[in-house]
Structures are given as C-alpha cells and as structure tokens.
Symmetry: C2
Subunit: 206 residues, 2 copies
C-alpha cells in the first residue's frame, strides 16, 4: 500500500496574506509540497515558461478543459480565463506529494467535488480594519477599489464555514505554523495513514 | 462567543510509548493542556493526593458513576476499577483547555458517545518486532506475559481504523511533533474556530 498525496486548498479575501503564507510553507516543505500551476488564456510575458509559470492555452483549449470537467476551478478576469487543470494535480498526488492550491473563495466547492479529501483552509485577516490598512499600504489601488474589496471580503468571510479549517493571519509566523500543522496532521488522518498499520502488522511476518 | 476546549484521546498497545509522548506534549503545552485525572477504587498509596493523582472512591461510588453515565470510560484490573469521570473533563473543556486522555484501546467508543468532537489518536509501534524489543528491555515481565501482550497488540492494531489519527512512534520527537500538530490543527477546525470569523466581522463595528 502506498501513501497518497494531499491536496491543500488555501482561499481567503484579497489582502489576507495567502501568497506570503504559501511561499513560506513551500520553503518549509521543499521537495514535498508544490504549488499547482494554473492554466490561462492570457499571453505569455517576458521570461514566463509554459508548464512552470502557467500552462498557456488558447480560449478553445481552455473551454474544452472546462467542458470535459478537467478543471478543478476556474475564473474570468477581464478578457482572460485562469484555472487549475486537474491532471497535473492528480499526477503529483499519485506520487505522494502535497499540492497547494491558491484559489478564489468560491472555487473550493468544485475542488471538493473532484477531489473529495482535499483539505480546505480559509485564511482570514485579523479584522476588517487591519485588512483595510494592508490594502491601503499596498498603495496599488484607488480608495473606491479598496472599499469594493472590503465589501467583497465581508461577503467572503461568511463562506468560511464551508472550509475545513480557519487560519487567522494576525502574526505571519503563527499562520504559517498553523498551515504546516494542518498539513502534518492531515497526513496522519486515519484514511491517509491506515497503510502504516498494515506495515506494522506485515513487518512481523517478514 | 468563546473558544471550546479540545478533548484528545490517546490509545495504543501497551509498550507503544503513549505515556512518554503525553508527558512531552504536556511539557510543550504547560497551562494549556492537562492530563485527565482518573477515578479508582484502589487504596491511596504514599503521598498520592485525592483529585491530583486519582479521585479515590469506594466501589459503591464508582458503580453509581457508571450507572449514571458519568464515566467517559472505565476498566477493571484485578480487584480494582479505574476510569475517567466526565465532570472534571467537561469543566476543563468549558475553560477552553485541552484535556488529554490516556486510555485503553477499547475505551474510545464510549468517549466519542459522550463527547462527540473528541479527537482520537491511535499510537502504534513501528513494528511488532520493535514492540517486542521494547517490552523485553523493560525487564518487568515474563516471556509468557510479553507474548500475551504481543497477541493483544496485534488485535488492538486492527482497531486503529476507528480512530481519527494514526501516529507511529518510531522516533519519539517526531511522534510528539505529530501529536502537537494534531492538537494545533484540531483547534483550527471550522467547528472550533468559527467564533474567530465573528470576531473579525464584529471588530469593524466597534
């Protein structure tokens, strides 16, 4: 019997710090955990590599993937589509790797439908005031855009109950430790770890 | 809304190292986690204190607790009864504390009936050969007694599937880290952590 890999989904309002948490978690789990590569219909830029930064496809190819139920989740931004093809994720899981998926709050449900034992983590800011402060400090958006993000964040926070775990990103190091603990514990869940009992029992006969 | 405490059950074959794991976990979580105090009908010895080492009761008092469904689990050893009264455990949980329960493999089911969101961890030895080595090295039991323990262990390992998590105690430090991760992750489970979302949302209005 072999160890199955673990799919870990992280979602949360824009500005909650998901990207930073994920990058630190990947640093801790080099060789064990991988960020899933998204598929997109947008143009390749600069040094971006197909299959590394994104899978670059035509709108027709993207649509075919969606129609054939081969996308874990997808969304449209402006004229372009972005999403997660299920094939490469399943390939890594079959090798026993941990795959991390950074997706929109609404995307989680479809992931669960295609990969039922995915572990879904909702990342929340410590408060809406703090989220506002972080968005303002980024200095990349107008006041109107920030207000819109805060409204969306409030709605998204209501979706937290659909997730398996809630991590509040107050102190970054604690949030990273939280996610690492969730990943470590999830691999010890009985449905993932029963193969170890077989190992213990079979070992005596060898 | 307040944080509920977590009941963590550890079970596993005799000699798997539960006691050592628990003592190290408690060292890491001083003030947060407590070992539940057992109730017993045996005589108090030496410096043992009632309510600290055990709750010392008469056989009649013990039987009344069992009949009134006030025991999380109990068992008989020789002429004496040992068990875990539910009252003190619930008291600690209501204060948001983590309570650790070290019980026989068969005891877990009744715990789950009385405290449905208990987290149950099965501790396994890395192999039956290694379990044998540990039991022999203890030097406290006859060869017959050790063989009996190994047979029981083999049967108990089949019960691992009834638990939430499986921790294989190969390297002690890893097993301790496993249990600490399970405890940390369990507190982040959505049913335990939804109050934090309320805090995030309400904070903005204050």
């Amino acid at each position: 019997m072999r160890k199955d890999g673990l799919l870990v989904v992280l979602s949360g309002p824009s500005g909650c710090g998901k990207d930073t948490i994920i990058s630190k978690v990947l640093d801790h789990l080099t060789g064990e955990a991988f960020l899933s590569v998204s598929m997109t219909t947008r143009e390749r830029r600069g040094t971006e590599q197909d299959g590394v930064d994104y899978y670059f496809v035509t709108p027709e190819q993207f649509r075919e993937n969606v129609e054939n139920d081969l996308m874990l989740e997808y969304a449209q931004y402006g004229a372009n589509f972005y999403g997660t093809p299920v094939g490469p994720v399943k390939h890594l899981l079959a090798q026993g790797k941990t795959v991390i998926l950074n997706i929109e709050v609404q995307g989680g449900k479809n992931v669960r439908r295609l990969i039922p034992d995915a572990v879904e983590i909702f990342v929340a800011p410590p408060s809406l005031k703090e989220l506002e402060r972080r968005l303002v400090n980024r200095g990349t958006e107008t006041r109107d855009a920030i207000d819109r993000r805060l409204l969306i964040a409030q709605a998204e926070l209501q979706c937290a109950c659909d997730y398996d775990y809630i991590v509040v990103n107050d102190v970054l190091e604690d949030a990273v430790e939280d996610v690492l603990s969730i990943i470590r514990a999830s691999a010890l869940k009985t449905n993932h770890a029963m193969y170890r009992i077989s190992e213990v029992l079979n070992h005596v006969e060898s």
